[in-house]
């Protein structure tokens, strides 16, 4: 690397990720876990950036603050996962977050869609947050304790996210006319990609066998469909497609025009000066 030596980014008052020795995991499990962490980190990072686009233009001033705060929370969660991954991979969280090409990101395809209108952002956040919640619920029982420890903290914040997005989903569904029409249109566009959050990971069987994951992504997808299916039915909204999680649901982001645009935005400062810190 050329340019000035890297300085560490600002230290947290209390680190979110506990100290751990990566050698406590066999190399093949370590690689598979790195894939899981990268998927979760990129999910949180990308939705955090999309939703931060609402700063200044949400339906009312208070919502502006609320939605931006949620988006910031997701960036915070991404930071925790990138830091954990950095220990596993001998990397830095900053380089993982900002130093890759679009094709190297591993977020779910659900998060390639642009923020679009308010109903669209709410529909996407509801699909993502409920799926993330099922995933975190399973990882809270992980045999890899440092992971279970961070998951427990993240889940306490996600509780409020679920409350907030639930309020908005019900509100949009309950108002016939434009709000409901926009919500239905958004769900129609997003539903086929919703299952990509549960895309099977490379070496997933190693994670299940070693207890790092308590269930497979396919099992999690079934549980999630049952959970959200109840609310969709209650609100008279169309059911989700009965597909299995698609194999390539976390690849191919370089082909997404909207993600390429977002990547250009969130890496702008990093690309301006390698190793820049704040």
């Amino acid at each position: 690397m050329t340019g000035p030596a890297r300085r560490p980014t600002r230290q947290l008052l209390a680190p979110d990720v506990p100290d751990f020795d990566r050698r406590q995991l066999p190399p093949n499990v370590r690689d598979a876990l790195a894939g899981l962490l990268l998927a979760m980190a990129d999910d949180e990072f990308v939705i955090g950036f999309w939703d931060s686009e609402w700063t200044g233009i949400a339906p009312l001033l208070e919502e502006d603050v609320a939605f931006s705060s949620l988006a910031q929370d997701e960036i915070g969660h991404a930071r925790a996962w990138y830091e954990m991954l950095a220990v596993l991979a001998g990397e830095t969280a900053d380089r993982l977050a900002f130093g890759r090409e679009p094709a190297q990101y591993r977020h779910a395809r659900l998060l390639d869609h642009p923020r679009t209108d308010w109903a669209f952002s709410i529909a996407r956040r509801w699909l993502y947050d409920t799926a993330d919640s099922v995933r975190l619920g399973a990882l809270a029982r992980s045999a890899f304790e440092p992971l279970a420890e961070v998951v427990a903290k993240v889940r306490r914040e996600e509780r409020y996210h679920l409350m907030h997005v639930d309020v908005w989903l019900r509100r949009l569904a309950a108002h016939a006319g434009e709000p409901r029409q926009r919500l239905e249109r958004a769900l129609e566009v997003l539903a086929p990609d919703a299952l990509t959050v549960f895309t099977p990971l490379p070496g997933e069987w190693l994670l299940v066998e070693s207890g790092v994951m308590s269930e497979t992504n396919e099992q999690l997808a079934e549980r999630w469909r049952a959970e959200v299916g109840g609310l969709l039915e209650e609100l008279g909204l169309p059911a989700l497609p009965a597909d299995r999680p698609p194999a390539g649901g976390r690849n191919g982001h370089a082909d997404s025009e909207s993600f390429s645009w977002l990547w250009g935005e969130f890496t702008a400062v990093h690309r301006l000066e390698e190793g820049v810190t704040w």
Partner: protein
Amino acid sequence: MTEQQRPTDPQPASGRHEEAGRLGGGARTDVFEVFRQEKDGDPMRHAGNVVAPDVELATHYAREMYSRRQESVRLWVVPRSQVTDLSDPDLLQPPLDRSFKKPGGYVMRDKLEQARQRAKDEKDGQGTS
């Protein structure tokens, strides 16, 4: 589902140039007063207010405005319409002299000194008996 069949995004990707949020024409908002407790045992103090369509969202907004940086341990959210306002000057600021209702007329210093001396004498008396 093939790429051709998949419904497309309502608008092309263009980041911030997409649609801003707005409340529908029929939407009504209310003002909610927010009180917060900074730490356990502290009194509830008025923090400010939020505008929201109902108490549920008002509670979320109060949480964001007054505790997203962990600065409160309890919030009270009250619709302003439920607050009884009393600001009648005849009731609160009557014109006649009120100084006789204030404790300033009593000089306590000498009496307090005598009382302390008395208490000390009694204690000493007990000690020697």
